[in-house]
């Protein structure tokens, strides 16, 4: 669109051009969208009521009695359970990643902008949190407040904060080294305004990548917690819970275990692919590729 007044730019080409969104993003994004759609549909429609038990038709194989993926040992429709479980997965992921991003992003920018002794303090605190396993944190929370979805979301969210702080701080340091930051300071902009208008928009790409990767971790953690009995209650459909319940029948009817396992794997792979693909696009360290 520019009316070229002078010769071509003299510096290196802007990094935004020449870096395209790869096929990984489309595959990962497609899986994510699929899980999301299934989760949303489950609010309005599932083939059967996911809570409806029919012991006369327990452990039916796929297709038997109109059950697309068969039934579990209580005779519940597996397809319906999976759909309702997608809802739980998405809900837990959104809240957990939301907590992590909303707390971690400002702290990361803060760590990049404050004097060194303060940022050292923040980053060592981050290291300590990072050294604390997420699952252990969740178990501790469950021990204090009892298990449940809220506890797991909180624990997973808090455990994901440090990685956000690290990624955002690293990105913010790169941004802060650009001339438009001192330019804004010379123009009289205060630190908060600089953080909001200049730093945040330029690290948002990294935040999105981190959110996608954290989402995958959150799905796994939620499934793990439910499996251990500290996550979703028995009345909530959850992939982790399905895994746990299918344990009894693993020897005789392994398919009942395969379905939720496949669903978890698919969702995790989807978010990871999306995150990796987006990283190729946004990560400053990969610039110029």
């Amino acid at each position: 669109m520019t009316t070229s007044l002078e010769k071509a730019p003299t510096g290196p080409a802007p990094t935004h051009d020449g870096r395209r969104i790869g096929p990984l993003v489309y595959i990962g994004g497609g899986i994510v969208v699929l899980v999301a759609i299934v989760g949303v549909i489950s609010f309005f429609w599932t083939p059967y009521d996911p809570g409806f038990t029919d012991t006369s038709l327990a452990k039916a194989g796929p297709g038997v009695g109109g059950h697309l993926l068969g039934t579990d040992r209580l005779g519940r429709d597996i397809a319906s359970l999976l759909m309702a479980g997608a809802r739980t997965t998405l809900y837990v992921g959104i809240v957990a990643v939301g907590i992590a991003a909303l707390v971690g992003t400002p702290l990361g920018i803060l760590a990049a902008m404050v004097p060194r002794r303060w940022s050292e303090f923040l980053m060592r605190g981050t290291d300590i949190m990072l050294a604390f396993p997420a699952l252990l944190l969740a178990l501790m929370f469950a021990a204090i407040w009892g298990g449940g979805i809220t506890t797991s979301m909180l624990a997973i969210g808090i455990a994901s904060i440090p990685s956000f702080i690290r990624v955002v701080r690293a990105g913010a340091l790169v941004v802060l080294a650009q001339d438009y930051i001192p330019a804004a300071r010379v123009a009289g902009r205060r630190p908060f305004a600089i953080a909001w208008t200049h730093v945040l928009p330029n690290v948002l790409g990294l935040v999105i990548v981190q959110a996608s990767v954290s989402y995958a971790i959150a799905i796994l953690a939620e499934a793990g917690l439910s499996y251990l009995g500290f996550g979703a209650g028995l009345t909530t459909a959850s992939w982790g819970l399905m895994l746990q319940e299918s344990q009894v029948t693993l020897g005789t009817d392994p398919l009942i275990t395969v379905w939720p396992a496949a669903a978890i794997a698919l969702a995790v792979v989807g978010f990871n692919l999306l995150g990796d693909g987006l990283r190729d696009r946004f990560d400053p360290r990969l610039a110029g590729r």
């Binding site: 007044l5 071509a8 730019p9 003299t10 510096g11 438009y180 330019a183 009289g188 902009r189 200049h198």
Partner: protein
């Protein structure tokens, strides 16, 4: 080339006063005993090889020194603002932008890639109490004043859509947005190719004539300084080794390092 500055030589005319400025990192002295005075409307060049401390001096004046550097001495603007070296970020924020503007070396990184040009130019004015509509109108004027064609289109563009020269014009328009008394240019044309460089220099000169702002021009290129400035200060190893009018210094350099710079410079386009 040297413009007859509209000044009487009274002491109250001093705009920028730098007294015995010293900068050190840890135990290492980077800049010492720098004294510099700019009168209103005066154009002073600060030259020296890379590592001579000219950029640090200029950063200290703008209050942009990185954390961990210790400063001594005094920098005052207009005699009334107190020592800027000791000023808090809060009080600096009020002085900056309104009283000083700055143009940076690298036009590729001097603009926020995620913001359209218009808001970036308006930002400086909005900060100092100009209304939204007024800022938008003046943005167009400013962009037109730095010879950018179709200011309305440029204002809607993102930085990566502009060429290096165009970006540096935008940076200049931001620096001049609030009609500052002092314009600081840190190697503003080093990253541009020669033809663009000449145009941007002409533009800086014409904008200064229009606004009456003083200029502190940092460069390693004597030829560029000779074109734009009235006075020149030569820095070498963290000190000002020679200071005087451009003509004097060029005709009769006193310091060996100045002679070296003159030998290396491409003055008047003849030879190397």
């Amino acid at each position: 080339m040297s413009s007859p500055a509209v000044t009487t030589k009274s002491a109250s005319d001093a705009l920028l006063e730098v007294r015995s400025l010293g900068i050190s990192a840890g135990g290492t002295t980077l800049v010492s005993d720098v004294a510099l005075q700019l009168r209103r409307g005066e154009r002073v060049g600060l030259i020296g090889a890379s590592g001579s401390g000219k950029s640090l001096t200029c950063m200290a004046i703008a209050g942009l020194l990185p954390e961990g550097l210790r400063t001594t001495g005094e920098v005052t603007l207009d005699g009334e603002t107190g020592n800027l070296l000791q000023a808090t970020e809060r009080s600096l924020a009020r002085i900056r932008g309104a009283r000083t503007g700055m143009v940076f070396q690298e036009p590729m990184t001097a603009l926020n890639p995620t913001m359209r040009i218009g808001p970036q130019v308006a930002e400086a004015m909005r900060q100092h109490g100009v209304g939204k509509a007024e800022a938008r109108r003046r943005t167009q004027e400013l962009l037109a004043a730095v010879d950018l064609p179709e200011p309305a289109t440029i204002a809607r563009a993102y930085p990566h859509q502009l060429s290096g020269g165009q970006r540096q014009r935008v940076v200049l328009s931001i620096a001049l947005a609030n009609g500052p008394d002092l314009l600081i240019c840190d190697e503003p044309t080093t990253a541009l190719d020669v033809t663009v460089q000449a145009k941007v220099l002409e533009l800086i000169e014409s904008r200064l004539e229009a606004s009456g702002a003083a200029l502190l021009f940092v460069s390693h290129d004597l030829a560029v300084v000779a074109q734009v400035c009235d006075r020149v200060a030569v820095m070498y190893q963290g000190r000002i080794v020679e200071q005087g009018s451009v003509l004097e210094v060029l005709a009769d350099p006193q310091h060996e390092h100045t002679r070296q710079l003159i030998r290396n410079a491409d003055l008047g386009g003849g030879g190397r």
